[in-house]
Amino acid sequence: MTWLSVAFKNLARKKVRSLLTIGGVAIAVAVLVSLLGFDAGYQRALTGNIDKMGYQVLVTAKGCPYEAATLMLQGGGGLRYMDEAIYEKIVKDPRIEKITPQLVATAFDKERQGGQGGVVLYMGIDPSYLALKPWATFKTGGWFSGDEADEAIMGYEVAELEQRLPGDQIFIPNVDKVLKVVGIFNRTGTQDDGVIFLPLKTAQRIFGLPGKLTGIGIKLKDLGTLGDFEEDLYNEPGIQVISMAQVKGTIFNLIASARTMTNAVALIAVVIAVIGVINTILMSVFERTKEIGVMKAIGASRLDIFRIIWMETTLICLIGGIAGDMMAIAGTHAVEFILRRVLPYAPSGQLVFITLRLLGISFIGAVIMGLIAGIYPAFRASSMRPVEAIRLGD
């Protein structure tokens, strides 16, 4: 016989009560894991999304109605334009590793979303786009035949949506223009999947914006020079510089209130679970006053009693921790689904990211919770004096 079996048999005595308490712990742990997993996953997905833009700095026309979520959603487009001359000037900067000019335009397509209509994004690009985004590879077809060709490359999702293949034609509604599809990109998991690309010069021509750009994406050789680089560009008139780090910060601020709330929910769940555990164990200690007295009479020291009660509490939390971890894993998709409804902005990719490390930490956390919750009941039990306990109810 072992200490553990004595403790375990006590829990098995009131099965329903023990299971309910374990359930409380499990829910608290599951909530905690899901929310921490969300915290980590969101950050990771967002960072992944921003890294996949390929650039660390975006230069746009000043006064561009820029706001992080829209910017992200539109793949870096405001609706103000700057002169190509700025591009010619910046491109010579030795700190730049890669740079790509782009012109974003939108059109309203009445056919989209089952007749409801929707915004279609067009982006004029040149070959430097591919250099900046090496993951933008072709599923079928290839690059434009010339830099003024009336051709289009479609993002993966928009090609699926419009059921187009290379050789097909697409129609741009508000400028009455027909383009020939020459290529379709593979899925990148970014907003670019929903964009229709044209040669930069073609875009400038058909949207009536000759010599204009909406943005310049820039990747630096050394991120350490970012501060200086931005500083220099501040002096250029008519433009604004947005670093992706800033964008990330803005989005985090956007979801800060959601995070505060979810953290509060997690905290409340943990507190309720701890109170539940203390209550259950304390109740069972009082019910067993006589038994505890007998154990002392037959040789148990204070520490022995403390140990048994402490083990019971920790066992509850340990089992609850395992169950909670399993619940969290099983519930990942449901939580992800709900979060996507609730959040103001959700990057593509896995939102709830549960790692082994997170599971390990939550499990250890549950055990520590048990150790803490057990102190008071164990202390109460160990303080009982044997005669008084035995004589109780005589």
């Binding site: 200490w3 048999k9 006590n10 038994e291 009479a297 037959i298 040789g299 020291s301 005669v387 035995i390």
Partner: protein, 231 residues
Amino acid sequence: MDDILIKAENISKVYRLPAEVIRAVRDVDLEIRAGEFIAIMGPSGSGKTTLLDILGCLDRISSGKLGILGRDVSRLKESSLVGIRRGNMGFVFQDFLLIPTLTALENVELPLLFARLPSGRRKAIGLLQKVGLGHRMGHLPKQLSGGERQRVAIARALVTSPKILFADEPTGNLDTKSGDQVFHILKGLNQKDGLTIVLTTHNNKLGSQAGRVVYLKDGSVVPREESSLYA
């Protein structure tokens, strides 16, 4: 003399209640020698249980001097008394007080866990066989009769090989037949194994079989004639 296991000199136990002061044990002098079989008798409320608890180091005295195995325990706290109980004293209670979640065998093994003695399953099995319960080892207390439970309790008290066995009204909750059976076992332990036994009882017939009877009245030791049990 070194065969004196317990030497009580002028010991008293006082309970201070809000309304009154109860002197449950008054100025008791008592010596208990190895191998004795002592019955403490007296009417209800005369202090039998209190005296037994004190001698068994379950409770502390209020005044006087108590020596156990040559050691003065008069001023020891509960945390030190547990060390004296462990290995030296076994206890049997009127209402058995087995641990309901543990089987008969586990109940008997439990004191070994507390005493940090290596698993004594064989010893526990041997003791259960000795009290005639070799066929009931896997039973839970609720699956046993009163007499059987008390016999499990005796095996539990013996497993750490104590020098003294204390039994508070061990037959008090049993029918005559089971009570006689339990008493017979205790007597056998004393006579065959030389175990020192101190018990309390209401039962004149059983008390008269003890080697020595200590009569209590209102917490004091009195001659047999003064005891109200003398009839």
